[in-house]
Symmetry: C2
Subunit: 201 residues, 2 copies
């Protein structure tokens, strides 16, 4: 007697991780993926110039404005958005290839893009990382010293809007302790791999 269920997943699972700027989502995500097999982080494409330590193909694919627009026209993005004066997008082909091979994929994207992906691919699991308190976000943004006071205020306004979108997500992680947040994200990934009804929300 075979124990394999006909509706068990062979394709990889697509996860989306979002959260306001300063919440520490890169650290939570990177540490979680260090511990896990069969899952990769999607590399986004952007038109903004590389920062000091950023490497093309690892941190981002750095596209010219012209190339980005061509790829939009070719429907080569799973989602893309225009933030500030730069474009950010998720190239569709590598995501689709990984999923088809049975590898899970994580997109770290903003709320608007996340909701677009959810609409396009309803089996996507959306995870929101929030700070323990809104004031913590402000402290962290000031503390990391990357932004002007005006920029920080702008980020906080955006964060408020993003927090309103949490109810569209499937899971909520509060990053008050890095180890707990990492364990929780790993737990969500493991649990989703054992779901019998992957298509339901």
């Amino acid at each position: 007697m075979s124990l394999v269920l006909d509706f068990q997943r062979k394709r990889g699972i697509l996860f989306v991780v979002s959260g306001p700027s300063g919440v520490g989502k890169d650290t939570v995500l990177d540490r979680s993926l260090q511990n896990m097999e069969g899952i990769i982080k999607s590399v986004s494409a952007t038109t903004r110039p590389p920062r000091d330590t950023e490497r093309s193909g690892i941190d981002y694919f750095f596209y010219t404005q012209e190339r980005f627009e061509t790829e939009i026209a070719d429907a080569a993005f799973l989602e893309y958005e225009n933030y500030g004066s730069h474009f950010y997008g998720t190239p569709l082909a590598p995501v689709e290839q990984s999923l088809a091979e049975g590898t899970d994929v994580v997109l770290k994207i903003e709320v608007k893009g996340a909701l677009n992906v959810k609409q396009l691919l309803p089996a996507t699991r959306l995870i929101f990382i929030q700070p323990p308190a809104f004031s913590v976000l402000e402290e962290r943004l000031i503390g990391r010293g990357k932004d002007t006071p005006e920029k920080i205020q702008q980020r906080l306004e955006i964060a408020k809007g993003e927090l309103d979108a949490r109810r569209e997500y499937h899971y909520l992680i509060t990053n008050d302790n890095l180890e707990t947040a990492v364990n929780t994200l790993c737990a969500i990934i493991i649990a989703e791999r054992h779901r019998i009804q992957p298509e339901s929300s």
Copy 2:
């Protein structure tokens, strides 16, 4: 700004764990709960006589047939079933009290009872534990030496029916390695505690 979502769960979560006889679900469940806080195993009531090491109120509540029937009439069971010549049931009051206090509760019950609970309380999360292969089940049932060959055949027939019911469950754990199975069950419990849309399936 408050970060609490109005639809975040204050009540405990009700989990159901099922699986064929011999799959090792007691061991998986007991080891998982050892590692976790805020979750308890519900104690079932039964009319069958206690076995050697069983303690009333810990392994089972041992009821007389008369008392069991009175409690059925009083709607005091969340679910009950008649297996062989004995009744087994989940007393409702302690489950409801724990959930109301925000404590998660696990019921270890058979498939029929599980599906009744799911219908009654749709937010219940159903977890099925299966053997790595059907032959393993037979070996384990023979190996533990508790049953006659006829009884083992009967248990295997029941197991086939139970495996068919897996698609009604939310999660499937294959118990091919105890530690992995325990980690998976813990992961499912942690993940469910972080769900934003607890009422959906």
